[in-house]
Amino acid sequence: MSAPAMPDKVAGVIPVKFEKFGLRHYLICLKGVVLRECLRFLHQRERFISSLVRPLIWLFIFAAGFRQVLGVSIIPPYKTYVLYEVYITPGLCGMILLFSGMQSSLSMVYDREMGNMRTLLVSPFPRWFLLVSKMLAGVSVSIAQVYAFLIVAWFWGVKAPPIGYLTVLPALFLSGMMLCALGMLLSSMIKQLENFAGIMNFVIFPGYFASPALYPLWRIQEASPLLHKICLANPFTYAVELIRFAFYGQIEWLSLGVVAGCTVLFLAAAIIAYDPSRGLVTRKQDTGGNG
């Protein structure tokens, strides 16, 4: 190996004085975490394709098949009868965010098992900031997937008002944050990668089907009052409604409150879970070494 010649020599035995972290350093860190997530996503083409194919199957096949069976009456925010494809599009956007949020949870468990998580957790930035950065990275990738889906849906003839593609962005962002925060919290509880199948069965499927993503809540209430109550207790219900109203430039205040509240709650719980002094993660995990 060649003789070391450090770019800026460490001053002998005197510890180097470090510049105090300012906003610029925080932004560099945030950008680095988001960029890495985006690069990983781009390198995993199968992940991108499957994230797009899943909602498109629902749109092209399921919605076409059920259009005649599942009639949708005029309910807010719609002012006229809408095609079933139009009705389920916000739910499918929510589905992408839900799967993506859980995918980022899976990615954190994978990172932890492979050791990559350690490189994040030994950064000198505050742990809460690192986790929020990781969450924002996950949300950025989720939103890109939603817009890719909306472009294909547009060509299929499923169109929202043009301004809706802009007004839905904050709703997608907030809902994505909530679902990523939930994913992060779950990742702190999953001991092994193999246990992720449980998330599919106990979180994704119940969360998705017990919501107005595929059918209006009044229909569920007619079918089963108990199921209706379960739907009302499901945070994903409010994410879907927030997105639905945002497509038409409206704010559904209850949904906004629930989604924002759940985001704060899930995020706070995830930060506690990843805190080395209080968290679940370090108690459950070994560090991958055997020394």
Partner: protein, 262 residues
């Protein structure tokens, strides 16, 4: 608030000060009342067989685990109470490979630089300089997946040095590498101690990685059983060599000494 322990005039702040540290996983003890310190610009070998507590100690020093009993200070900064200040001064090479295999060398290193608030041109310059130091010049665009085990280790060492730490922790950094790669990596790290004044804590169970001039800390089943310069440890253990001393201190008989070599 700064959590820096000030020493008296003329006293040198230890690069690493581990004081009465104990840790357990549930009811299973992993470390028991471990205390030692390492001076800046010294090469200290943390010796111990598998299960001795080396990786647990590394996890405590790097704040992956919280230190519940005892205290750990890096250049005077308490790891629990001022973890940010402490972690800025330490570079870590973990035992398990931690490069992202889907990304290039440059992308891996840039990510780490960002995690220390270093971006743009400064990050690029440091990456290029450090790749020279670890003898991998111009390999920025290679995929991490395409590198050999030894090359990955060199990249991980470059990554650990990116933020110019004053203390470097390496946990079994040569495990799984061939003799040539091991010797090259060890020589690079020793050179950094001499030329850059970096303090190094090198965890290993391979006794042939210890030099006569090194300091050693020997762990056995979570207990610290010896510490000091090699000659002192050999003398106090009543052995003829550091290999014999480690065998005695670790409680392994002659038949078990094969484990001490690669």
């Amino acid at each position: 608030m700064q959590h820096v322990r000030t020493s008296g005039p003329g006293d040198q702040v230890a690069a690493l000060d581990v004081a009465a540290v104990s840790h357990s996983y549930g009811s299973k003890p992993a470390l028991n009342d471990v205390s030692f310190s390492i001076a800046p610009a010294t090469f200290t070998v943390l010796l111990g067989l598998n299960g001795a507590g080396k990786t647990t100690l590394f996890s405590l020093i790097s704040h992956l685990y919280d230190t519940r009993r005892g205290s750990i200070r890096i250049f005077g900064h308490d790891v629990s109470r001022a973890s940010g200040e402490a972690l800025r001064r330490v570079g870590i090479v973990f035992q398990a490979r931690t490069l992202d295999l889907d990304l290039s060398v440059h992308q891996n290193l840039s990510y780490h630089a960002a995690l220390h608030g270093i971006g743009g041109r400064e990050a690029r310059q440091r990456i290029a300089a450090l790749l020279d130091i670890v003898d991998m010049p111009g390999r920025q665009h290679d995929k991490a997946r395409s590198l050999s085990g030894g090359q990955m280790r060199r990249i991980e060492i470059a990554r650990a040095l990116l933020h110019r730490p004053s203390l470097l922790l390496l946990d079994e950094a040569t495990v799984g590498l061939d003799i040539q790669s091991r010797a090259g990596i060890l020589a690079t790290i020793r050179k950094l101690v001499e030329t850059e004044g970096i303090g190094v804590l090198w965890a290993t169970h391979l006794i042939d990685e210890v030099d006569d001039g090194d300091h050693v800390v020997v762990l056995r089943q979570g207990e610290l059983v010896a510490k000091g310069k090699v000659a002192d440890v050999v003398r106090t253990s009543g052995a003829g060599s550091i290999r014999d001393a480690f065998s005695r201190l670790s409680g392994i008989e002659a038949a078990g000494t094969a484990e001490l070599s690669p």
